[in-house]
Point group: D2
Chain length 386, copies 4
């Protein structure tokens, strides 16, 4: 991908989001993007040449490498509707990435191709109710046993984003050989999507569902990649997925910041324009710094992934910093907006509850800090020995 | 008030809130307490001997002085329904205080008495749309002109808590002699309660409304206290009102903290109980410290008010610290709850948006910091000269 | 003690510190108060009626109870020389308190009386080199064995404040019955005061020393209180001692803040007085809030101790908050002073390294947070069961 | 510069600093690097092929471009002696950069060449006593008037790093045409280096001096670049100079962090290794994140400068974030070291006062925040209009 092309895609994406997505937000009731609106936006994105920027050209995407995603994904995330329009929203985006890397040609043809075209949605079923897999993936309690003609899966899942309406799930279960991923079609007997959890965030299509697998039998070819490689694949998926979350949410933080800047440029208080009052300037500067540091950390981690490294430390660091910085930026923007900041006449009041869960989803900050510290101690130990 | 009596009231209030209010929360749909539920809870509070703790005995209350309010109000605020049940919720509580201090006997009989008994609700109409009175009260734009038989009031208000359903408003307007407060009955021609603003907080009965006064004529006896004393009275009301907000919200923060502590005592993660993991303990300890410092600052300011001082610096300091500490405590509690913290199955997910506006209402933190700094510089200047 | 008397002592102390101690600071080279200067200041303090405010009248002090100490100790701490002048500096002040509570009449006559009169200094020898007693007192490694005519003590200590020049040490050692405190006279064979540790703080008379006890034999009457009660006594000493540290350091923080306020009142920057620039006002306000919260938490803990409670949670909370707030206040004062803040022409540049260790001494913040969290979980557990 | 070469230089620098500079620190008394030690270290650096990495090959340096400086300068800053050894310490490094960009061939031959070879030191005389040039450069009060044969300069300077012992100064003065830079040789009559200011930081060779220019006459060829271009040149110097400060101090922060990690790997507390206790892990992780974000922001700004942009916003952001992060990292390292962290037996205790001034020098954080906020508001205004 040449730099010129990437700059092109970025410019087109920014224009598209401002021209198409922001105005469409008024039609977005929350808790789910209406399928018709989604289809309309995706059609417009195709026409604007910004659809599926992260998908390989052979699967109909723009073919950008991960080092070129940050700006584009952030531009998409500037609108609550942008990622869905570009078909780069979670969890589909991470699933596409995983299928590209680990799917057989047949699996890619059957699952990846229509997913990349936006014809269907998918979900990723890993998280379980306590005391199953949550912050600690080792606690995986869903089981997969070999049965005649394939595998029988049993277990309970929750926080399964997009399950309601998904055409298929990538489902994590514990086989005798170890954690394994299975492609489970919606409608498979024993695969039941339960209630939508009343979470504070609302922009994932389908929301977050509870899912039960009970005597759910899938054929042998439903195994994604290799049996027993589930945790390794989860890492393959989670590193980039964690980072694309950062990119998209950073876009929303920038949006909140811009809304606040616009207001401070027109408000007068105590005889001065609000953006000329020192205490407001302090909030603005702190947000500028948070946005810049987030951006720099994301790019650093994306470059490491692009170089073929696992980059667990870099993506963990980015995840913690960006999820917390995004929350601070939204919070400061609300503060700069004053009373208007906590009233739903402006979009920003809503952003606080949209971004809050990101400090918990994909590993709470505390779990990442624990892992970051351990890696740092280990690395330093190796240096001491060298 | 003897210490024994206060300890009694406190104990009874805690028991009442746990026994009556917490279970009733399931019947609270949000954005308004159903009048029937409110009446039922108030009846129960009367029976439990905890109704109107802050109101003088001559007006049917328990007669606690402000130095004895902190514990009791905090205990009430532990439930979203507690302040309404005890009839010590905003804005009525502040209005009662103001009417006790400045109302004529006739005004007290007509407005204070039924308000203290919980028979009606009231509102306080000061805040205006930009560029009117907001963070800067001097910008007051609503006017009051003498007309035959009284005053004509014209202007627009917003964020008028409880206006929808209030029997009367205490309305701030600019008379030729200066800012003045007027008692305006609901139903007075020209006093129009507009739309309820879609704010993120929902527990004030009636919500926050826009109000228009247009050619609204009130009689001479509608003037509360003296003409031209409006700003002084506003200070009389705002100091304690600011502090009682702190007390109530601190109760909600303690509730969030308790819910989190309960969960950390039963969850296992990485082989340890959650409340034994250092990073969780750090969050818990920081919240304990925030709660203790909030409590200590509230008591300090309440003691200063009880001693008859204006205590503007003390109440400003308490307002900034407590509003920010309460937000941090709720935020940490969510973090300790993990995924459950951002799902509305638990009450805490909702608390974040309930408490967020308090950092803006009654003067944003930045306005208070500006005032705190100026007072500190002035005070130190006086010390230098002495 | 009547309130009037306490107010009197407070007023006299403030005047004394400003009149006598601040000017004397120019004669204070650091790392130790010259004994002659110390004697001169103590004589002046006696003449001013402010000497030994915390000591019982029967031992020649002013007899203030601990609830009345906060203001007075803070006023003393406003100068680096104030606590020494009033004879309420660490570690002597804590040792006096301990001797008053646990010493026999003979021990009080021999050790407490001259200590209270300022005729000699003392030290408290508990902390040991790793892996001995430090953050974890249970690791106490110094031993005490019964020998003919008394006890033999062996072990190593460090961070023993005031050991160099002390007339006696209260020394903690592990007897067969448990941790025990011994009164060890300087000069006792086998009690060796080693090098002064090059710590960043310098205002403790004698500095912090390494001490070795090697075959150090003391008579039976050297046991302070009861054998085996050392840890309990340590708590008796540490609660108040921790709190008086807070009081004194809070005084120094207020001093830094005042120096900064004075400078911001005379400096012009970008066409405005520095104390009128919003970003400076933010720093000032944050320090005012930190000082107020520190003061409120100290008073809360002092009241709890005065009521006869152990108040471990209250003193831990105060220790963490105040030690961190004091550091922040000094740091912000430096920032407000700009270049002058980091040059030793002003006293404030030095304060940063004076106050930094307090976040570590007497239990690092992390140890206290751990203890605070555990107590909170335990307390909440008891509430759940009730 | 190929990537391979840069990686080479980086590797050699790391090895050199560990092999040569760290051991030499024991010979560094502080407040000045002994000239003989300095010469010895520079000789060793030349032998190791790491001398003057930032200087063009035509002037005897390694010729790295600014995009390649961050890692190398950080590696140098890992030791207090590294920058001096590599001849990339402030203020010489910034002066070399300025002379390369603006000096005439004759000026380069006379000043730059020996400076690049480490044969002499220099200083940059801009900052003045209040109310002259400090945070606000426009307040420049030193004057330059044309006299027979050149210019006469009059004024007072302070915080002139390295003036004591410098062979020449680049001196900023206000000519009729505007601010102008002059090359003033040490020994020029009327150029007087006054007392060394007792600043808390000590590693700049020569310390920070007061300088007086009184009837100081310099020839016409002493003008650096163009008359009246002083402020523009100051920006040319300050952007990179600000950033190289960040790089070097980041190295020292990493050093503190490594010292703390080493200790936490060997200490046991409460039955666990210190680096396995959650509260310690939180401190470690926060420092890892601070270091990573600092590094990413520095690289972002360096890349912008390398691309030929002025990058005022990027360097301001980096300056604020890094100076504050470095302080936090050093502070956390001290905390992790416990009592050992505040004793000068380890080097870290000293680092706190070494790094503290960087939040003030080169523009206090508040001045940069003010500028960052204004630029952000301006940029957003331009976007709104587009």
């Amino acid at each position: 991908m040449t730099a010129a092309t990437t700059a092109d895609v970025l410019e087109r994406t920014r224009a598209f989001v401002r021209r198409v997505c922001l105005p469409a937000e008024a039609r977005f009731g929350g808790h789910d993007v209406d399928p018709a609106l989604r289809a309309e936006l995706q059609e417009a994105a195709r026409a604007a040449g910004v659809f599926a920027p992260h998908v390989g050209r052979e699967h109909g995407g723009l073919g950008l490498g991960i080092a070129d995603w940050p700006g584009v994904f952030e531009a998409a995330g500037y609108s609550l509707l942008g990622p869905a329009a570009l078909n780069c929203a979670a969890p589909d985006e991470g699933n596409m990435h995983l299928l590209e890397l680990t799917g057989t040609p047949a699996q890619q043809a059957r699952y990846l191709a229509p997913l990349a075209r936006g014809e269907l949605r998918s979900c990723f079923a890993m998280t379980e109710p306590h005391p199953g897999a949550g912050s600690d993936p080792d606690a995986l309690a869903t089981t997969a046993r070999r049965v005649d003609g394939g595998w029988r899966i049993d277990g309970a899942k929750r926080f399964i984003s997009g399950a309601d309406g998904a055409a298929f799930a990538i489902c994590m279960a514990r086989a005798p050989e170890g954690a394994t991923m299975f492609l489970v079609d919606a409608g498979t007997p024993g695969f039941e999507v339960g209630r939508t959890m009343p979470a504070t965030d609302t922009i994932v299509a389908g929301g977050h569902s509870e899912v039960v697998l009970h005597d759910c039998v899938v054929p042998e070819e439903a195994v994604l990649g290799e049996v027993g490689e589930g945790f390794r694949y989860a890492q393959v998926r989670l590193g980039p997925a964690r980072l694309t979350h950062c990119m998209r949410w950073l876009g929303l933080a920038r949006r909140a910041h811009d809304v606040a800047l616009d207001r401070t440029a027109e408000r007068e208080l105590f005889g001065a324009r609000l953006d000329q009052l020192g205490l407001a300037q302090g909030l603005i500067a702190d947000s500028v710094i948070d946005l810049a540091a987030s951006s720099a950390l994301i790019q650093t981690a994306a470059d490491a992934l692009a170089a073929g490294r696992r980059a667990a430390q870099e993506t963990s660091i980015a995840k913690v910093f960006v999820s917390e910085a995004v929350f601070r930026v939204v919070d400061r923007s609300i503060q700069l907006l004053g009373g208007d900041g906590v009233v739903h006449d402006l979009p920003v009041a809503r952003f606080l509850t949209e971004v809050r869960p990101f400090r918990i989803y994909d590993g709470p900050s505390e779990t990442h800090r624990w892992a970051i510290s351990r890696r740092a101690s280990r690395l330093r130990g190796a240096e001491r020995e060298a």
